[in-house]
Amino acid sequence: MTPGAPARATAEAAPAPRAGGDPLIRLFHVSKSYSAGTFALRDVSVEVKKGELVFLTGPSGAGKTTLMKLLFAAERPSEGQILVLGRNVARIGERGIPRLRRRVGVVFQDFKLIPTRTAEENVAVALEVIGKSPREVRGKSFAMLKRVGLQHRRHHRPAALSGGEQQRVALARALVNDPAILLADEPTGNLDAALTLEIMDLIAAAAARGTTVLVASHDAALVKRYARRVLRLEGGQLVEDLSGSAIR
């Protein structure tokens, strides 16, 4: 444990046993500091089990994005250990990162689509990087676009798609590999209310299929509507871990 870190966060973060089997994500006293003395995350310990749909909330700068980045190895923790799908992400080697990311789908607020490729090609990249055959890539990309209701837009480039459509393409890309975990960082931050529900329904459907889903959002209404478990971060510390009726 970090010296001087408040005991409260750890006590509250002590994971309560939940339904859903083994934890797919485990954080042990994780801290992340970008410069000496200031912490983006401080002594966070938490577990997320298979099939859970967890919301990560808190004000801007609370550490939601940092926590997400740690989970797909875009950042490394300054202290503590992180187990994702049984791998210690804190000490993962350069070769291990791609392997981890093939099992962790990620969705961002700004969609992160490749502008020069069509919707279908954007979905396809997730299959191409693991060396699937062109036939399989086409079949799965089409099926996934159909699942998010965009099969008729598959030959369009991102610029020709609306924000909601772009996020559905990004979601299709994140899910096409059947990842064990889906991370969504403010996935509806750029979308209006109707599109927000559309995207969240798709994310919730993925959770219902057994994917472990972690959504970072500061949209209280969204949290109330969809969350079964809420982790609240403030100033880099985990201050609440609520589930069930405690959320509403």
Binding site: E94, P98, K112, T116, A126, S133
Partner: protein
């Protein structure tokens, strides 16, 4: 089929898409390699032809060892055998006094002057042809010295001294070619490296996205290497093509000058093998430049 085969397919597809996506930089890279290949290939054509000319002179290059008047025919033949054992000597022909006289007669067309001779004034000799790799001024001098050392050899003639000057000129052109080659190679590498760096920079968002969905370092890097390789090969081919065109325009214009100064007017272009070397050299340069760029920009 294995994932590696499919990945190779995706690499090549990504490389071609990359080349098409950054047309201007691609054209600059290809043109750079072509422009570097033209002077290098040109010098190669010149040195190749100088070398061929030297070989041609060399084929005609022959040393003559004049023998002592006391040497009889049988002793002359054994001398010929000893001369043949000198390193660098390809062939030795013994020319007896009688044969020498006959040849002289034949050349003069039966002059009355010769009829008046009471005795044969011509010495017996050894006509010595040199092995191709010994047709250099140094080797000629060495063989000449060895012939002098044989007892019964009175004098050695042949091995025109101008060949020495020509050989020096060839070496000079060749060293200039190597010097120019090094300078051009460095400049080309620098330009290719920077072009590919620009390409990497232009596609950094795409690379980041590919990395996010689990692309390995190899998956991110190999398309750029293929791009460099293709640019280099196309640039090399273009350079050789342009050089060929220049060659065909320039040679008829220079024919008279070549004939006048060298007595030779039919220069050859690069052999298919050397064209292959130039083109693969271009490809190797493209690949090296791309590798340097990818390493410098830490694509991962």
């Amino acid at each position: 089929m294995t994932p590696i085969v499919f990945q190779l397919y995706y690499f090549v597809r990504a490389a071609i898409a990359g080349l098409r996506g950054s047309r201007l930089t691609t054209v600059v890279s290809i043109a750079t390699i072509a422009v570097a290949v033209i002077p290098l290939g040109g010098l190669w054509v010149v040195t190749g032809n100088m070398r061929a000319l030297l070989d041609q002179f060399g084929n005609e290059l022959q040393l003559t060892a004049f023998l002592d008047a006391k040497v009889r025919s049988d002793a002359g033949r054994s001398l010929a055998a000893r001369a043949a054992a000198i390193p660098g000597v390809e062939r030795v022909e013994f020319v007896s006094q009688e044969q020498a006289l006959e040849r002289f007669r034949a050349r003069l067309g039966g002059s009355a002057l010769l009829e008046a001779l009471e005795a044969n004034p011509l010495p017996a000799s050894l006509a010595i042809a040199l092995a191709p790799d010994h047709r250099t001024p140094e080797a000629v001098a060495a063989v000449s010295e060895a012939l002098h050392a044989l007892s019964g050899v009175e004098d050695v003639a042949g091995g025109e001294s101008w060949i020495e000057g020509y050989g020096r000129a060839l070496r000079l052109v060749r060293s200039a070619g190597i010097g120019l080659g090094v300078v051009l190679a460095l400049a080309t590498l620098l330009i290719i490296t920077n072009t590919i760096r620009l390409a990497v920079y232009a596609r950094r968002d795409e690379l980041e996205i590919l990395a996010l969905v689990g692309a390995s370092r190899t998956f991110l890097r190999v398309p750029f290497l293929i791009e460099g390789l293709l640019q280099g090969a196309v640039g090399g081919l273009l350079g050789v093509g342009l050089l060929f065109a220049i060659f065909h325009v320039a040679v008829p214009q220079l024919r008279d000058a070549l004939e006048l100064f060298l007595g030779w007017s039919d220069p050859a272009f690069l052999s298919p093998r050397n064209v292959g070397i130039l083109v693969s050299g271009g490809a190797a340069f493209g690949l090296t430049g791309a590798a340097a760029a990818v390493a410098a920009t830490r694509v991962s």
